[in-house]
């Protein structure tokens, strides 16, 4: 075997897993795509987010909480190793509401989840006036917000760079410009790429985002992932305008206001559209009227990697034991869990987290 683990996919998910395995002394080869690959790692919104996740599956809420709780420590370690900063703020985040009804409905759901989580779901409802004290630029149409104290945001691109650097520093081998076409298991695993490159490994992690839809079934996975487009806007760099992040907007560490995001079922089309941008701009101005005068300098579309129920998939292949599917649409929030907790599951140690609810068996009943 050339390597203990071959990781197919060099985005934040693949690199987080690679990082965790390297830290345990495993040898790792990461196979990454090229400049034009669909890369959720460079198009995501950058939230480290807990609220609204796992409303129907408390284990997912808890898994997100676990990751958020160790995120700062994880980021500090990667950044200490590489000298590359990973800006992170975990001072809470908002879910804004433009009507009393939606606010009440959401609170009711949160209360159920909170009970299921044994009370560990620290949030507060802020009426307009209380919110205004926290966010002086909030607009009159926002009737209130749910402030969840476990929420925050990071610079996801700086996480990506720091992980890329630290994986290499720890001796990880990263092959770039690769498209994996075949994975076989004659004895150990043999991974073949379109350009003829082959890698042999003891185990394989498939963390190729949307690429798993093609490759997964060949490896014994269902891999029912589909793309969902999110368009995102970013303004010119501005003085401090927004304190805490929300699903509508956040002010990034460089100063720009990032505004998101659409949810569109348009297949593998990652373009932006004028109607998409206009709708997002209107919503952002409703939340923060001062944004009306801000210049939009950049926008992009990125494809979320969604499973049918929106939850992550962690599954060992029934046909090829030693091959694992790791996929989710919250690679930033879950980066710390993937780096610090998932390796125990891959290695099958006693400390392995219970990920049963995230297995593909949930997709069997049709």
């Amino acid at each position: 075997m050339e390597t203990d683990y071959a990781i197919i996919g060099g985005g934040v998910v693949g690199l987080s897993v690679a990082w965790g395995l390297l830290r345990r002394g495993r040898t790792v080869t990461v196979l990454d795509g090229d400049d034009g690959s669909f890369r959720a790692s460079r198009g995501n919104f950058g939230l480290v987010w807990v609220q609204s996740k796992g409303m129907n599956q408390p284990r997912y809420a808890q898994w997100s909480q676990q990751s958020a709780a160790i995120w700062a420590d994880f980021a500090q370690e990667v950044s200490g190793n590489t000298g590359k900063s990973i800006p992170l703020e975990q001072n809470g985040g908002y879910d804004f509401h433009f009507s009393e009804e939606t606010l009440e409905e959401t609170v009711a759901k949160y209360e159920i989840l909170k009970a299921q989580l044994g009370g560990d779901y620290p949030y507060e409802v802020l009426g307009h006036n209380a919110l205004r004290k926290e966010e002086p630029h909030i607009g009159p149409k926002v009737v209130g917000a749910i402030l969840h104290y476990q929420d925050g945001h990071a610079n996801p691109l700086k996480l990506l760079v720091a992980l890329a650097a630290d994986v290499r520093r720890m001796g990880g081998r990263v092959l770039t410009g690769k498209t994996v076409t075949e994975v076989t298991k004659p004895d150990g695993f043999r991974i073949t790429c379109a350009d003829g490159t082959t890698v042999t490994s003891g185990k394989v992690v498939l963390s190729a985002g949307l690429g798993a839809a093609q490759l997964g079934p060949k490896m014994g996975f269902k891999a029912p992932v589909r793309p969902q487009r999110g368009q995102v806007l970013i303004t010119e760099k501005l003085p401090k305008l927004i304190n805490r992040p929300s699903l509508i907007a956040r002010q990034v560490d460089e100063g720009g206001i990032q505004i998101g995001a659409t949810n569109e079922e348009v297949g593998l089309d990652d373009r932006v559209t004028q109607p998409g941008l206009s709708g997002l701009a209107a919503k952002a101005i409703a939340a923060y009227p001062a944004l009306a005068r801000a210049q939009l300098v950049r926008s992009w579309g990125a494809l979320r990697i969604l499973s049918p129920d929106g939850l992550p998939i962690y599954q060992e292949s029934p046909d090829m034991p030693g091959a694992y599917l790791v996929t989710c649409h919250s690679g930033i929030t879950l980066a710390a869990a993937h780096a610090r907790l998932l390796p125990d599951w891959l290695e099958g140690t006693d400390a392995a987290p219970d990920l049963e609810v995230f297995s593909e068996t949930r997709f069997t009943v049709s």
């Binding site: 400049d35 034009g36 790692s41 691109l157 932006v272 709708g279 701009a281 209107a282 409703a286």
Partner: protein, 465 residues
Amino acid sequence: MLMKRDLAIIGAGPAGMAAAALAAELGLSVTVLDEQPRAGGQIYRDVDRASPARGTILGADYTDGRRLTEELRRSGVDHITSAVVWAIEDAFRISYTREGRGAQVEADRVLLATGALERPMPIPGWTLPGVMTAGAGQILLKQSGVAARGSVLVGAGPLLYLIAAQMVRAGTPPAAMIETQTLGDMIRALRHVGGALRGWPYMAKGLKMLAEIKRAKVPRYTGATQIAVEGEGKAEAVTFTHNGRKQRIPCETVFLHHGVVPNTQAARSLGVSHIWDAPQAAFAPVLDAWGESDAAGVFIAGDGAGIGGAKAAEYAGQLAALKIAAETNRLSTQDRDRKAAPLRRALAGELAVRPFLDAAYPPFDAALTPADSTVICRCEEVTAGDIRSYAKLGCLGPNQTKAFGRAGMGPCQGRYCGLTVTALLADANGQSADETGYYRIRPPLKPVTLSELAAMDETTQDAAE
């Protein structure tokens, strides 16, 4: 309801104006959108307002532009001035901003006549106030009758001589010309001398300009290397090595130029294929003989299709108009070809001199792949060394380095760093420019305020108040 045109033309320079006038004459409905308040493009910028004195300084090649602005006016074409186009979508809906309000035009075909940009010339100090492109120096003269005293011109190429000669005529001769081309370049260029002789009028004009510069006793330093702009908070001097000796010329204004390159932003946003043009050292769109790209209905004419100059742009714009007129049954293919023949001959004549010029005045090597400490992305202040370090972290192309280090994320959208990033990555990864690729260009092509965007939102009109 949006206006639906047969043809929308982006840019009112020579290609756009000539195409618009001919297309209208052939019966097409045409809208021209241009960022400037008056037609002309950069080459004929504000030609209709230039005083006779300014016309004398700038020369007959400039005032000739009035022929085109007049044709455009006479054609009755709908010319939307001061229109900043920020998105072209869906074959074709064009979104633009004018005086703080968003609007749209629809058209069946689009002709991109967006011209050229100065080739980025990242040398140490190029971001200091007082350092401008040579094109900027010319625009100051053309539009505003403003001339820099005691400036230094740096780089290579015919435009550098043109602006020097114009500044001499304006009574503000440059303090020096620091030129990067070498005698070796000129010798290599002589193999293209056949073409140069076909382009003899251009050669003659070039020699006349050089004579004017010489008469004004402007010092010229050719084969200069290690060029940098020095200064605390603004340009104070240019330093360089000439014939093995360090030189320093104090000045407050520096004009940089080592060629112009196609402005491909709009074309790329529409998914038009581009390939590396080695002699011109730039990407150019892939086009047929009429200027139609591989994106259906998207035509490109003028310098945006590959550098050919103003007259070539005019002929190319007319060729595109002929094909569009034939496709929309305003013209038989026989008539199209008959009208195209003299245009093609004239175009070939215009382009004959290019191989000689490209070889004689190549880009300044040290500004194509600059030293590590040089800023290459002016907006985000990313250095050449940063890009090289991202190559070491596995970045194969510019979209990866953009994510890793923000080069190309600023308001200029990579216009002044894109080619440098491609060159640095190609060099670091041992790949060709084509393999390395270029930024994915998306709307907005130019920044637009959120209020203008929101005002176009149909679902939440009232939220946008």
